[in-house]
């Protein structure tokens, strides 16, 4: 909700407004930095902020022993992965909502998330759990490719057909996932179910590089395309007349989103609502200009996920709550607020 505070100060004057928007990027960046350190300190064992700081930056007076191990090998990779996952989900939500011109667009809508779950569950059930991230990523890409092929009639990527085939393929993949989960032995049931609901427990350093690199590359690339993404608001006709190759841009952005989501979901499991909520919240505050929505959604998504994960490990000790459960709990009221706001605006 820090986003909102920053935005209230957005002035109506143009040059000032740009400075304030750039300022909110900086502000969110700083908040994210502080949150990362704070989140590492929070958990079943509380570690003071300063100690975390010293351990992370390996200063000379850094504490050693079990506390250092917890911070370095358990908490830090987990918190960082949370930030990467949140950033990746939120930025794809922002891009997909812009490309598909649909406020409900998110990674579930193009089949990527459901495909990842199916791939992961298949890997778990066949005893190949070490292959899980690869299987999940493959699952995401396979279902997404099916969606894309179904949607591409006559060489044109129609938005409505993409959404419809996405919904259908996702439903199919979810049905298959549920069937497999329900027929699995009890010993594996829990881990499969937990995976489909998303979670970051047991994160290791080796989980980080792939999603970090993929998210990093695509955030930059999405930002470079964001002026063209803005033009899509005028529809196919209008964007074409501005020199945007609409069909090519759509395919590229959707494929980029699917790869990003696949990379993220393969390590975190299916986490709903983040991709949906964060870009909407950002747009409510700064407006629809994707040159700002893309970077701000990235930062806000990272920030949100870091704190949601703190909630996941603190709220139900000694057990963990699946992250997807928390995001859904936040997501439902958020949408009621969004709806109320839209209704109020429609009446005004």
């Amino acid at each position: 909700m820090t986003v909102r505070v920053a935005a209230r100060r957005v002035s109506t004057d143009r040059p000032g407004r740009r400075v304030t928007l750039a300022g909110s990027v900086v502000l969110l960046g700083v908040l994210l930095g502080v949150s990362l350190v704070a989140a590492v300190g929070l958990g079943p064992v509380d570690i003071p902020f300063l100690d975390v700081w010293r351990i992370v930056f390996a200063t000379q007076d850094a504490p050693s022993g079990p506390m250092a191990v917890i911070v370095r090998d358990i908490r830090l990779p987990r918190v960082l992965l949370g930030a990467i996952v949140g950033a990746g989900l939120a930025v794809t939500g922002a891009v997909l909502q812009g490309v598909l011109r649909n406020p409900l667009a998110d990674p579930y809508l193009i089949g990527a998330s459901s495909g990842a779950s199916l791939g992961a569950v298949l890997a778990l059930m066949s005893g190949l759990s070490w292959l899980l991230p690869v299987a999940a990523f493959t699952g995401a890409m396979v279902t997404f490719t099916v969606v894309l092929l179904l949607a591409r009639g006559g060489g044109q990527l129609g938005v409505t057909s993409l959404i419809l085939s996405g919904v259908a393929v996702a439903a199919l993949a979810e049905a298959a996932t549920n069937f497999i989960v329900l027929n699995s032995p009890d010993s594996q049931l829990r881990s499969a179910l937990f995976w489909t609901l998303g979670g970051l427990s047991g994160t290791q350093w080796s989980d980080l590089p792939v999603p970090a690199i993929v998210v990093g590359i695509f955030v930059v690339w999405f930002r470079l395309r964001s002026a063209e993404l803005n033009a899509l608001v005028l529809g196919e006709e209008g964007a074409t007349s501005l020199g945007v190759e609409v069909n090519r841009l759509r395919v590229r952005l959707v494929v980029g989103s699917a790869i990003t989501v696949g990379a993220v979901v393969s390590v975190s499991g299916g986490i709903g609502f983040v991709a949906l909520m964060v870009p909407h919240a950002v747009r409510m505050v700064v407006g629809g200009d994707n040159r700002w929505v893309v970077p701000l959604s990235t930062l806000a998504g990272a920030l949100l996920m870091v704190w949601v994960d703190v909630g996941a490990r603190l709220l139900n000790q000694p057990d963990e709550i699946p992250i997807g459960v928390i995001t859904a709990l936040l997501g439902a009221p958020f949408f009621l607020v969004l709806l109320a706001r839209a209704n109020r605006r429609a009446m005004a």
Binding site: L224, V233, L234, S241, L242, G243, G287
Partner: protein, 252 residues
Amino acid sequence: MSLSLDVEDLSWAPVLHDITLSAAPGEILGLIGPNGSGKSSLLRCVYRRQRPDRGRITVDGLDVWTAPAGEVARRVAVVTQESPADLENSVEQIVALGRVPYLGTLGRLTRAEHDLIDDAMERCEVRSLARRPYARLSGGERQRVHLARALVQQPGLLLLDEPTNHLDLRHQVELLRLIRSLGVTVVAALHDLQLAAAACDRLAVLSGGRLVADGPPAKVVTADLLTEVYGVAAEVTHGPDGLPRINLPLAT
């Protein structure tokens, strides 16, 4: 800067057939014809929305279908009949989209570009709406916003598809006057023949996807044409300005 348009032997089955047409730099060319005669389709072929089956379209010698899309968009701007947008998009943002064909990788606008945007909003009388959500505007206001967006594109050729749709009489007159003052080549599909005759240097008439007449308004708008092309019996007289006046007897 005003650029010539040359359409050579253009066909797009089953809508357009063998159309050859040109507009000289600075000329205001009106496209008239009944519903479904192919006016919008012809414009669509020019702004790369609809690839023709046959024929060549060049703007100042540049073939629009082989040149890069961005290069065409820096020469040709379009105002279409209906454009969607979201609640989050302010009028100013929509107008600023006219700079998309010119943007560098980071998409930042220069001071001069902001001035250009302000100036275009001023000329199209939408500056007072700059902060309003586009989705809340009336049809006429949207039309003027899109004209401003097209001006921001700094085109040498401006294509207008029914630009006076949704506009009240005053705004119709002002829009056509504004268009005449721009000094760019304009090709406009228009419905109102009398207004078209007053606003355009030349009229081209489409019927069933073919070009059936092309010439100065006083020569083109005749009682015979109205009977043949529109299927209405009308009287055409000429005013003191030499422009046609159309009388449609409705009483039977």
